[in-house]
Symmetry: C2
Subunit: 231 residues, 2 copies
DNA sequence: TCGATAACCGTACCGGGTTCACTTTCATAC
DNA sequence: GTATGAAAGTGAACCCGGTACGGTTATCGA
């Protein structure tokens, strides 16, 4: 995997910077730590730090998003997008967080949720995710509308873009993408809040599983099922 | 309304700054215009500019949000929140944009949608809206669960906060609030895109009316109505 | 007419982020 | 083993958004 000494050192430096930054942020608050301090504490020049992380946000907001568009695009043929997503998040909740550094994740969550500026960054990430999902959904809807056509799928692949040109269909896809993204965001938020408030990972995972079902039922059936059974 | 000479001058200065800023942004792009230039062009000191607008964003992002939470909170007794919102946006689409400065609005939209940083600001505003709506919805759900109780309404008023304490109910409210906000955001986005692409206001309004119905049907009935009738 | 006060100003400052010219360190070809 | 080119790293100067502060001017109320 091309692991020269150079590569290793580079990755090591990158990780050192990120770790130092997160620790300092957690200790003294994001706003109270300057990038100069981080650079110095990591034994590196400011300009070097910025060669690894384009902005201060990125020191914390790395790997904070999941690829819903990919899940939709890679679903089993004929499977409705929503089913694929439900399956995916159900599985995620079930396997908990295998191989995840929980301490690190928690610190990350703590710092982010304590810092409005970072929350804004998270929102922005969600925004990008939403656009991608809209494209994937537009492709899925087009495919579905064309029977089980591989023709539409082919077009979507060659287009590599979604947005099939049909503005009305696009609007539907965009609305649905927004709803899904918002829902998943809320779920994630609730999950992290539980974790941050000290709930053990396992229990939070169990609650998350319930939440996933609630959320996707809501997405499928809407707010007004038949009668008014809330909660 | 307390219009002394002082007040008038102040408002005038404020408007002059905002107008100059918007014009410059539109001419040369948001990022290519510095606040110093704006201040100079408006005949004012930088520090004065920042006494009117806390950040550069705010020069553009003023009055870009609507109060969904207020609509829910002020709905007719017994009316489901979603109905109230549908009614509100239906009315909005119908009356078009009476008394709105369309040219100004269009410039605003143009500048915002051409600038990722501003889009982030918009997104953040939506996020705030979402939290407020979640609180309003939580109160509404609680009220509904308590029969037609004025007791719950009273509590909601005294609390002035929503978030009735019940975490599960809160989650539902938060999810729904997210879905609604995301949907309305998308609608607004589509509306503005049409306007920006030269469509006359009246026609855009008519299309918006259709979109509103589509969107709220989707919210009420979900993605999987009975059979698969899309579009 | 005379304070009080609100708007306004200039300047210096801070922190995030970029540019540039320069040195060090590793990889590679001979 | 050594020459060489590229990549990683450096320091200093710079830009821009935003704040702090002390001081000036204009308006307001009495």
């Amino acid at each position: 995997m091309m692991t020269g000494l150079r590569q290793r050192k580079k990755e090591q430096t990158r990780r050192r910077i990120a770790e130092v930054a997160l620790r300092l942020f957690d200790e003294r608050g994001y706003d109270a730590v300057t990038v100069n301090e981080i650079a110095e504490a990591a034994g590196v020049a400011k300009v070097t730090l910025f060669s690894y992380f384009p902005t201060k946000d990125c020191l914390v907001l790395e790997g904070v998003q999941d690829d819903t568009a990919g899940v939709v695009a890679g679903r089993r043929p004929g499977q409705p997008p929503l089913d694929a997503l439900r399956e995916h998040y159900r599985a995620f909740a079930a396997r908990g967080a295998d191989g995840v550094d929980v301490r690190h994740l928690l610190t990350q969550v703590r710092v982010i949720s304590a810092t409005p500026a970072l929350m804004a960054g998270v929102y922005q990430a969600h925004m990008g995710q939403r656009y991608e999902l809209a494209a994937a959904l537009a492709a899925a809807f087009a495919e579905e509308a064309a029977g089980n056509g591989t023709a539409a799928a082919g077009a979507a692949v060659t287009g590599d873009e979604g947005g099939t040109g049909d503005p009305a269909g696009d609007l539907l896809a965009r609305i649905v993408a927004g709803q899904i993204t918002a829902t998943l965001t809320t779920l994630q938020e609730a999950f992290f809040q539980r974790l941050a408030s000290g709930m053990p990972l396992e229990e939070a995972g169990r609650l998350l599983a319930d939440d996933v079902e609630l959320a996707f039922d809501l997405l499928e059936n809407g707010l007004k099922p038949k009668n008014g059974d809330k909660s």
